[in-house]
Assembly symmetry: C2
Homo-oligomer: 253 residues x 2
């Protein structure tokens, strides 16, 4: 809508890939160098980009700090965190919390496994939306039209032989997840990693977040992991209750 702002913001993902100099930025934006310079200067004043010693630009500290603040202000995160920790203490595995936002699902909290073998993930990272158990729960709750539209725009990378292959299979899986109220990812992202997940619901019943327990199958078998499902669901329900104001932290202990 606003050309200037649009151009300025387009610089950010461009720099996220790695540092770039003025000429490169101008070229990629398709504008004159002087224009790019002014945009970069404005971004710089706000700390969004940083000019390193070789004069090239990269993303700045304020951006990181802002993202930090944004995450801390997600109240669902604050409420859920102690529950995630407790679940981790009970089962020992990696626990994730994720939300859906504008065609993406991203992790907003994580408690690391107590076992030496850990899975790679990072808070803020968009998840593999077509296979992750938490993604299935979040997408399954979208209005049908939106769900179908989204499924069509997605790509379906075959991380493993068990990855969701295409849109119809995905929609079918979402339907199943929607009915049973929980989801799994059995080696769909990484061959050796299994997850079980349950939804966190707001006062109106809509799914506002999803949490999962993940473990490599060298540590626990699929059956053992599935046996944790009741515990995972109880935890998710406890978070739901607290989030929607039905219960307090003390009650749900």
């Amino acid at each position: 809508m606003s050309q200037t702002v649009d151009r300025a913001l387009s610089i950010l993902p461009l720099l996220a890939a790695g540092p770039a100099d003025l000429g490169q930025v101008a070229d990629r934006l398709g504008v004159h160098k002087s224009t790019a310079l002014r945009l970069l200067r404005t971004l710089h004043e706000h700390g969004m980009v940083y000019r390193q010693s070789d004069q090239r630009y990269r993303l700045g500290a304020r951006l990181i700090a802002l993202a930090q603040e944004a995450m801390e202000n997600l109240d669902i995160r604050e409420i859920a965190h102690p529950h995630l920790v407790r679940l981790n203490e009970q089962c020992g595995h990696t626990v994730h919390l994720a939300v859906y936002e504008e065609d993406e699902v991203l992790y907003i909290d994580k408690v690391e496994s107590r076992y030496p073998v850990r899975m790679y993930s990072r808070i803020g990272k968009p998840v593999a939306i077509t296979v992750a158990a938490v993604a299935k729960l979040l997408l399954a709750d979208l209005p049908e039209a939106e769900r179908r539209a989204l499924a069509d725009t997605l790509e379906y990378p075959l991380y493993t032989a068990r990855s969701t292959p295409n849109a119809p299979a995905f929609l079918k899986e979402l339907e199943r997840v929607r009915e049973q109220g929980w989801a799994t990812d059995l080696g769909g992202h990484e061959e050796s990693i299994n997850c079980v997940a349950a939804p966190v619901r707001g006062a109106d019943g809509r799914v506002v977040a999803a949490m999962s327990v993940s473990a490599p199958n060298v540590v626990v078998t699929t059956e053992e992991l599935l046996a944790l499902l009741p515990l995972v669901r109880r935890t998710a329900d406890a978070i739901s209750g607290e989030y929607s104001g039905r219960t307090t932290a003390k009650e749900s202990v």
Copy 2:
């Protein structure tokens, strides 16, 4: 420099404090509602802000993802991480890595303590610049003029009785840190928490990052923590060597 972009970027810290509706944003910016709307729309298109169900705006997922990517691309972080992990394995305490950027010092990596008692900190969070051991190291290396100018602009909150009280005391402390080549924070931020820190230097000898070990004094005494100093310095030197290309990862093991 660019009015439009300047206004748009000013919206972000405003939303970081918490969700706001169109009218609030327009007021805070001092512009007409329609102007604010267009700026917000542009930010929205880029995923920088998100419109929640009550129509209020808050910071968006792309911002978090960008910050994420920015951090992963900091090469110092990548190089240092295994060293931080190893140091944590050796001493068991919380290990931090921090960099200086534009009047701020922020944590860019962290390995959690193995002890149950942990300190509160978070990657991406700006540190208490006037008391943190890592901040002292990073600021002590600035050119004198810049250092003095910065010291004057800072505020000196008295977190505890041992916090740095004012600019002269801070500059004196920085001078000391600069000469001895390491730094401490003994209860200056939180009464019960002590830290020792050492600098990571680039090929030209300038300090590019700083790392610290933190522990509550209920776990280890100040003396015991200070006894870790040689280990911390060795680790920092190993990172320096690898970062400046003098050694490789294998050599420094």
